[in-house]
């Protein structure tokens, strides 16, 4: 009996030692990231969550009275419409990116040949050049005094500049312009990873190229489509620069509302509530995506 007791004592001691070792390791390796997550992610989120139930005074100071006004303004009021508009624009952008992105990805995989690397290079470069500069460049092209208008007026085709900026069209175009590469690349990766013999099997079993695309190619590249959609849709919903440059005060998106409240108006409680709602919306969307499409797609997107 005594011997067995000793064994169990030494076992529990060993267990304790293991536990202590694990805790030590966690502390050693994960301390910095835990600090980042707790102090610089959760604490700021908590503080804006707290502020979103407060009021703003006439001089931008925070009045410490509890209120649901800010949240109410989003859920029931005009800000809610801006949120819906943002989701709508993001959805539209996403679909357009698929529509333009799939053919080019397909072309590169099937017919790219020795030019494959060059094509991919020409698609990656824009995705890595400065976001701001690219938007600026697009504005140079389509602005009121932009190249297109100047050219058309000099040629005498139009007498008045066409108003492209500050329209839904301009915002959508800019969003597609900005995010298209992030749709093309995952689709390309999915298409490139397709087993050629599976496609040959479909042909061999009587599927015409057209039927084969819809019965085999498209379903098998669903993962790439989903990854691309996550990469495009999520950042688009919270977009600020594009609506501020291409939408002006006419086309607002949720991101521009947040930025407006913080940087122009200085109403921290309202801004906080908008930011929290935006974050919550995205978490919900992401949750639904994962539930519908599986976790692998998300991890692949990263």
């Amino acid at each position: 009996m005594r011997a067995m007791d000793e064994i169990s004592v030494s076992q529990s001691q060993a267990q304790k030692r293991e536990k202590r070792k694990l805790a030590l390791n966690i502390a050693a390796y994960l301390f910095p990231i835990i600090i980042i997550v707790v102090v610089f992610v959760f604490a700021p989120l908590a503080i804006i969550l707290f502020f979103s139930f407060l009021k703003s005074g006439p001089y931008g100071q925070i009045v410490y009275t509890f209120t649901f006004e800010n949240i109410g303004a989003i859920l029931g009021g005009g800000y809610g419409k801006v949120f819906l508009q943002s989701i709508y624009l993001a959805l539209q952008t996403n679909l357009l990116c698929i529509l333009f992105g799939y053919p080019i990805a397909y072309y590169i995989t099937r017919f790219g040949g020795k030019w494959k690397t060059l094509w991919i290079f020409l698609i990656i470069v824009p995705s890595w050049s400065s976001y701001l500069i690219r938007l600026y460049a697009l504005k140079t092209l389509v602005g009121t005094k932009g190249t297109i208008n100047t050219l058309l007026m000099n040629l005498g085709i139009i007498s008045e500049p066409i108003q492209i900026l500050y329209t839904n069209f301009a915002v959508t175009m800019a969003l597609v312009f900005a995010w298209l590469p992030f749709m093309i690349l995952p689709i390309y990766a999915a298409l490139d990873g397709l087993d050629r013999s599976v496609l040959e099997a479909a042909t061999d079993l009587g599927a015409t190229p057209f039927r084969r695309f819809f019965r085999v190619t498209l379903p098998l590249t669903r993962g790439g489509l989903l990854a691309g959609s996550i990469l495009v849709f999520i950042p688009t919903v919270g977009e600020w620069l594009v609506p501020s440059i291409f939408g002006g005060s006419k086309i607002m998106m949720a991101g521009s509302l947040v930025a407006h409240k913080f940087t122009a108006v200085g109403n921290i409680p309202q801004g906080s509530s908008l930011a929290i709602m935006l974050a919550a919306t995205l978490v919900l969307i992401l949750y639904l995506t994962i539930k519908w499409g599986g976790r692998e797609a998300l991890e692949k997107a990263l």
Partner: protein, 264 residues
């Protein structure tokens, strides 16, 4: 076979149009950066004077230096944190690991305006961190570290860990093992994450704009402020340099990778 050729032609046209759409604005500003036109929006003969102006502009030099310092510090710190975090996440199993992983994702998933505004409120209302270098660098580390974590973790998952066991078996201490075997094997991933983080940090506008405060103008903030006043040829020159440097960097990475492959 004829049908196939027609299909490929149609796809080629579509793809080329898409590529033109992606590139036309960039090519335009590159062309205009050499144009005499003072609004930088049409062609009026060749000149290099905007480049001269760019390099003699104190504001630009200031902003560029600031951006480089911020990005440099961010790359070093975020890559370091990313490496040890990835190692810890891969090696250790504990309750709450999945939760930690998801939490690390948040700064990537949240829109920049949310991260930016939350950090701004945090820095000004809760802990008083001066707006400027400290706040900007902290913010950049916050949104860049997760990227490093997942790039390096992705590599670790495809890594042959029996090498590590072999090194331990041959008498290397865990630290020496990391130094001589694991570290060098992970080096490509660590380098890759550094090379991704640098442009991320250097190019970030939104979060930086929120937490920069007055006077800490980084290059993107400078570009943005100029945008408000309308197009200027100087931005064209900045854009041209940006695109050229990106392309150069990518070509470099491509050849380094190719050499690495042919060596091993």
């Amino acid at each position: 076979m004829k049908k196939k050729r027609i299909a490929s032609k149609i796809l080629w046209v579509l793809s080329s149009l898409t590529l033109i759409f992606l590139w036309a604005p960039m090519i335009l500003i590159i062309v205009f950066s050499f144009s005499n036109n003072k609004y930088g929006s049409s062609w009026e003969g060749f000149t290099l004077k905007w480049y001269v102006k760019l390099f003699t502009n104190d504001q630009v030099r200031d902003a560029l230096m600031r951006s480089l310092i911020i990005a440099g510090v961010t790359v070093v710190v975020a890559t370091l944190i990313g490496t040890i975090t990835a190692y810890g996440l891969y090696k250790l199993n504990f309750r709450g690991k999945q939760f930690l992983r998801t939490s690390i994702l948040l700064p990537i998933v949240f829109p920049s305006v949310v991260t930016g505004s939350a950090l701004l409120v945090f820095f000004t209302r809760l802990v008083h961190i001066p707006l400027g270098y400290p706040s900007i660098i902290i913010a950049h580390i916050v949104f860049c570290s997760p990227l490093a974590v997942f790039i390096i973790l992705g590599r670790m998952q495809r890594f042959d860990w029996s090498w590590e066991e072999a090194a331990l078996d041959l008498g290397a201490t865990p630290f020496r093992t990391f130094l001589r075997v694991t570290g060098p094997q992970l080096l490509p991933a660590i380098m890759a994450s550094a090379m991704l983080i640098f442009p991320w940090s250097f190019d970030d506008f939104v979060i930086t704009y929120f937490v920069a405060g007055v006077g800490s103008t980084t290059l993107p903030i400078y570009v943005f402020s100029q945008l408000r006043f309308g197009a200027t040829p100087v931005i064209n020159t900045i854009g041209t340099l940006f695109v050229s440097i990106t392309m150069l960097g990518m070509v470099l990475v491509y050849f380094v990778q190719k050499m690495g492959k042919s060596n091993s």
